[in-house]
Amino acid sequence: MHEEIALRVALFIACYNDTLFPETGKAVVRVLERLGHTVEFPAGQTCCGQMHYNTGYQAEAMPLLERFVAQFKHAEAVVVPSSSCVAMMRDHYPKMADQIGKLSLTVEVEKLLPRVFEFSEFLTKRLGLEDVGAYYPHRVTYHASCHGLRNLMLGDGPIRLLKAVRGIDLVEIDDSEQCCGFGGTFAMKNVEVSSAMLAEKVAAVLNTKAQACTACDNSCLMHVQGALHRQRTGVKTLHLAEILAGEERSTL
């Protein structure tokens, strides 16, 4: 296998993955354990506060920051299968901690954040891996979620992971840097614009003739999937972790 020292990885699943996409969490656990690492799940975790913060309810997000820090401050590494949650932490937690005004919290955030990784980032940047021994014999396209692309600078990391998957037929999507139109509450507050953006993304997905669209963020995928299903396209969506969890003997 590989020579990386086994890590104790704390999984922050993200509230919506926990509730709506448990398969993603299971897949993350499977991949990390297959690579020889130990996974922990701090039970008191709930939400990173992104929805509140980005919608303008900053005061409501503050206790969720404190909660996250309390749950994860002793972790060797924190893995989050949601690029927008990691962006929330990196972009806003330091400033939020300052605003809360407890020096100890500011210091803890500063110490903790370098150990927080988005799932694909953990594999490519922390572990330096591309091939994680996965098998997924299907035609797939990758949607680069905005927060992963622009805030986390994931670059071609997820693509390199996918290219190393055995059996995969990876097709590049047109206008890969275009937003799918989700944007959290934007999808409901600005339905018309959001739907028009989504229509373009769905057309681009269909254009690839892929059987599945993957990403590092289930919130974008939930949005894309909502339209793929509404239009009865038969194309599915699944998190990158679920593809990387695929194994030759378990599939087919």
């Binding site: 969490g25 039970a43 509140h52 303008g56 905005c146 937003c179 934007f186 953006m197």
Partner: protein, 481 residues
Amino acid sequence: MSGAILDPRTAPTFPMAAKMAMGDLQLRQNVRHATDVIRAKRAQVVNEMPDWQELREAGKKIRQHTMEHLDYYLQEFEANCTHAGGVVHWARDAEEARHIIVQLVKASGSSEVIKIKSMTTEEIQLNPALEAAGIHPFETDLAELIIQLGQDRPSHIVVPALHKNRHQIREIFQREMDLPELGERPQDLADAARIFLREKFLRVKTGVSGANFLIAETGGVCVVESEGNGRMCLTLPDTLITVAGIDKVLPRFQDLEVMLQLLPRSATGERMNPYNSIWTGVHAGDGPRAFHVVLMDNARTVVLADPEGRQTLHCIRCAACQNACPVYTQTGGHAYGSVYAGPIGAILTPQLQEMHHAQSLPYASSLCGACYEVCPVKINIPEVLIHLRNKVVKQNTAGFAGLFDVEAGAMKAMAMIFRSERRFRAAQRLGRIAERPIVDKEGWIGWLPGLLGGWTQSRDLQEMPKETFRDWWKKRDADDQ
């Protein structure tokens, strides 16, 4: 009057205006085509710059430094401009600015003015004020001329008529210039405008301009443009009146080195603007004999006072954010109800309104970050959008009426749930029970009530799985032991 005015105080909310705009398929095609073209040109000339990111950083630093010492640089500009023979006027708001300009035009003895494209004059609704005073303004920028003749409104900071295609422009020219035989080749349209404008350039003795930059060190004013009409307006009239927001100042002449690399590449995808005009005061026998600068606040100091919002004032009006924005490219500019549309408009307009109007604009974004990525002076627009959303929420939830805000109630309830693992688990269980009546046989939801109904207008939602991740984990943990 020159058509309906974009006024944030009376504009419909963004979602309403966007819905209307999106029904106009011709407009959407025009906007999409134009922004695609400019975006591709920008990408090409930006990618050829090895030091683009360093330039952006330099641009940001210059603007940041200027805003931190704005009082100093404004006074330095005033002193140097005055020394060079210019007259500096100070205007607290749009009304004062309009009043000063109208008085100056009257004093110049002219009942007409030729104008260079200026968003600041659009911001203060100068043309209606001039007309009310019996002064006829002629827009000389081709796009602004199209807007003026068509009694239309600007929809883009750099290309105000980008929502019109050449067939529509031809119709306007045929009608307004009385040229029934006019062709529709770009050359035909440009020729018609040239003949129409040349006569104005030669006749009208008073010019009005905006400014791209005010240079404190020299007292000079800089305007960049593509057509040369600006050069005409700056050199032919006897009297030149420039109106500029106080945010337009740059400390040193040398700062143009950075700005004049960033601006044209970001704005029009040109390596250099075809016309770069810099003038300082008045010179005997060369250009206007009288030169006035109106330095206008109009809420800029209010923006400056907010540490988290003030980076908005770094903007150099290149409109790269508009061309890059997936929201703007769907709706065009009019939906924003302000002359400043797109991402920069979504943060600038509500702040210039001191948050009294345009509260829906900070929400007119999916926070995708494309605007920040292209901004030549690195304004973190998503960060400011979020900051302004917080201001809107604070307004909406203040006082007694705030207790009945449905969204705020739901958000507070969610926050309470997230503050306890026990409550979070209970909410997950409750959610599975609550959704039962609306889940179809295949396990999908096609209709949601209330605020969530927006989702199901164009998307389905899969039912909640029988088991959450944390339940699965707990079971697995128990099995292991």
